[in-house]
């Protein structure tokens, strides 16, 4: 249902040009749960915003983004407004800034219902209550008149989720939806996303910097680094047999209970800065297996069925 082909996004011009996405291709079937993993500066949020066409005016976008057969890059502003919320919607990292502090829960969740479905008054209220119950908020009716500041972080994020699914979106983009939440609340929100996807059949693109968290939810994971996809394959392989050295490092460096007390393996260096990229593989400066060939950009090649990797070493070994 979503097809992103060779997407390139850059900001600025001339010597100040910063390429944030460099030819990203990604497709999602309806009902698919896909994870997008990357560090700060990897371009994961820019990818999400490009799908919603919410990037600032000065962003240069090339390539194609098709949603249900419709080209989003050539769609008119009016058409995009009709799509956002009804076909594709988004949950952001910080529910406090995503929700309008001056509107009650009923208004926030009801807005897409009025805009997309023409619901008003009593009918709309009942639908809002049904949505709040769908995201498992206890006491939905009492929440209607509450303002965001009166809610806890987990409740706010659930309200944001209710608003995101209100228009019946077929694709939900969740950009670090749990980073601002506590451990229990985070686990609970991931369970909620899973249930919503199963009940509504919508596809979910779950974006996070935490590979382990993503793998709890999704069947397929895409690893993004400095605007390039480095690996795209089944989630089960990402921990057991990650192919790209970056995915291997990400899988190893997360603290887990099993290896408590040990020294953690690390990814050396700092995340790539898209403004200062050298030619060649973007991960090469931090890669423990770097080789002379890495000064040239490796292609993204399908190493096994449904599992692609962008690394010279993995290609050579084939």
């Amino acid at each position: 249902m979503l097809q992103v082909r060779d997407l390139q996004v850059a900001f600025g011009r001339g010597p100040a040009l910063v390429r944030v996405l460099n030819g990203v291709s990604l497709s999602l079937r309806s009902g698919e749960l896909c994870g997008l993993v990357g560090e700060s500066g990897s371009g994961k949020t820019v990818l999400a915003l490009s799908i919603l066409r919410l990037l600032p005016q000065d962003a240069a976008i090339r390539g194609s983004i098709r949603l249900g057969g419709e080209d989003l890059l050539t769609a008119s502003a009016a058409r995009l407004r009709a799509l956002r919320g009804a076909v594709v919607s988004m949950i952001l990292q910080d529910p406090m800034t995503a929700l309008n502090p001056l509107l009650t829960v009923e208004c926030q969740v009801g807005e897409p219902l009025t805009y997309h479905c023409g619901l008003r008054g009593h009918l709309r209220r009942e639908q809002v209550v049904a949505l709040l119950e769908k995201v498992r908020l206890p006491g939905a009716r009492q929440l209607l008149h509450a303002y965001p500041h009166q809610l806890s972080g987990g409740t706010r994020q659930r309200v944001a989720a209710a608003a995101a699914i209100a228009g019946g979106a077929r694709l939900l983009i969740a950009d670090e939806p749990t980073t601002a939440l506590d451990a229990s609340t985070q686990a609970d929100f991931v369970r909620l996303l899973h249930r919503l996807a199963r009940e509504t059949g919508m596809a979910v693109l779950f974006i996070s910097h935490d590979l382990h968290l993503v793998l709890e939810l999704v069947k397929r994971v895409v690893v993004l680094y400095a605007g390039h996809i480095l690996e795209d394959g089944p989630a089960a392989d990402a921990l057991r047999s990650p192919k790209h050295p970056y995915t291997q490092a990400l899988a190893a460096c997360v603290p887990t209970l099993e290896r408590r007390g040990e020294r953690l393996p690390t990814v050396g260096g700092t995340p790539a800065d898209p403004a200062r990229l050298l030619p060649g593989c973007p991960f090469a400066p931090r890669c423990p297996e770097v080789a002379p060939a890495c000064s040239m950009m490796p292609p993204l090649v399908e190493a096994e069925t449904g599992h692609s990797v962008r690394c010279w070493l993995r290609l050579a070994r084939r």
């Binding site: 686990a187 991931v190 968290l213 209970l257 990814v267 995340p271």
Partner: protein, 306 residues
């Protein structure tokens, strides 16, 4: 070395106390991990230890001396021993000061060395946290989040403290950078025999650094014990919930998940979320009591047994 004795903190008479009757001790050179959700009172405990807040009742003791009674020179002396690193390295460093000034400031405040000795000392501190000496001449915005947190750690080490309060020091960092900072904190601890109060909502991070773990819920310490005991034989239902919530086990979706109800005002604060709730939990709040070697728990489930 550090002892909290029945400490409570209430910010206003009408609101629920942030911390209620917490007693715990941290020995010299020990790393104590305090876990719990936001609002559980763990940060308030850190702030009382740093003498940034005064307890409403109870005592916070450092080497037998009551921290809230320290004034003037004695308080300044105390701050040489106990330093802090906070969550957000973007807010903790002044954007208008060079790193040299930021890291060297504690040395100037305490008039510990002259200008040239200070520059040498700053360079030494930067090296010890894995930053190049040249970093001294730059401003915080020229560094990534992980590097900024290293700068904050270098500043905390400037006075050669015995004890660090680390309040969610890696929560704002990317996972790949988290592991670097966790390793740095491990190394520093063994090199300098530092004691830590490590505050975090992530049990796995705490498990990497700490000898003992305390679990807080709704202002109370609900479980405490040696790392292995708390992680392998958790007793309090909330501790089990936290363990189930850890990503990486592959079991996250298999566990039904709790109803995230707010803490109860009467009886056991956890009872609305507790799968084992009994009648007694609705009326009587359990007190924390010993249950095993070095292990304490506040739960009615374990009272008959002990």
């Amino acid at each position: 070395m550090i002892r909290l004795d029945q400490v409570s903190k209430r910010y206003a008479p009408a609101v629920v106390a942030a911390v209620r009757n917490v007693s715990l001790t941290v020995e010299a050179g020990e790393a104590y991990g305090l876990v719990g959700e936001s609002g559980s009172g763990k940060t308030t405990i850190g702030r009382m230890l740093l003498a940034l807040e005064v307890p409403s009742s109870g005592r916070v003791l450092f080497r037998g001396e009551e921290v809230s009674s320290l004034r003037g020179g004695r308080l300044r002396e105390y701050r040489r021993h106990v330093q802090a690193v906070f969550q957000d390295p973007y807010e903790a460093l002044s954007p208008r000061q060079r790193v040299e000034k930021i890291v060297g400031e504690p040395l100037s405040v305490h008039r510990l060395c002259g200008a040239s000795a200070r520059a040498r000392r700053v360079a030494e501190l930067l090296r010890s946290v894995g930053l190049p000496e040249e970093a001294a001449a730059r401003f915080p915005h020229q560094f990534s989040g992980g590097q900024r947190q290293r700068i904050a750690i270098a500043r905390a080490l400037a006075l050669e403290p015995d004890f660090l309060v680390l309040d969610e020091p890696v929560s704002a960092l990317d996972v790949s950078i988290q592991s670097q900072v966790i390793n740095l904190l491990r190394d520093l601890r063994s090199e300098r025999r530092l004691g830590y109060l490590f505050i975090s909502h992530n049990l796995a991070v705490v498990a990497y650094l700490c000898d003992r773990i305390g679990v807080m819920y709704a202002g109370c310490l609900v479980e405490e014990g040696w790392r292995e005991d708390v992680l392998c034989q958790p007793q309090h239902p909330y501790t089990r919930e936290l363990l189930d919530a850890l990503p990486g086990s592959g079991r996250l979706l298999a566990v039904p998940g709790p109803t995230l109800a707010p803490p109860a005002a009467v009886g056991c604060p956890f009872r609305h979320r507790c799968p084992y709730m009994m009648e007694i939990c609705c009326t009587m709040e359990p007190r924390i009591r010993p249950s095993g070697a070095g292990h304490r728990v506040a739960c009615h489930l374990y009272e008959e047994a002990s």
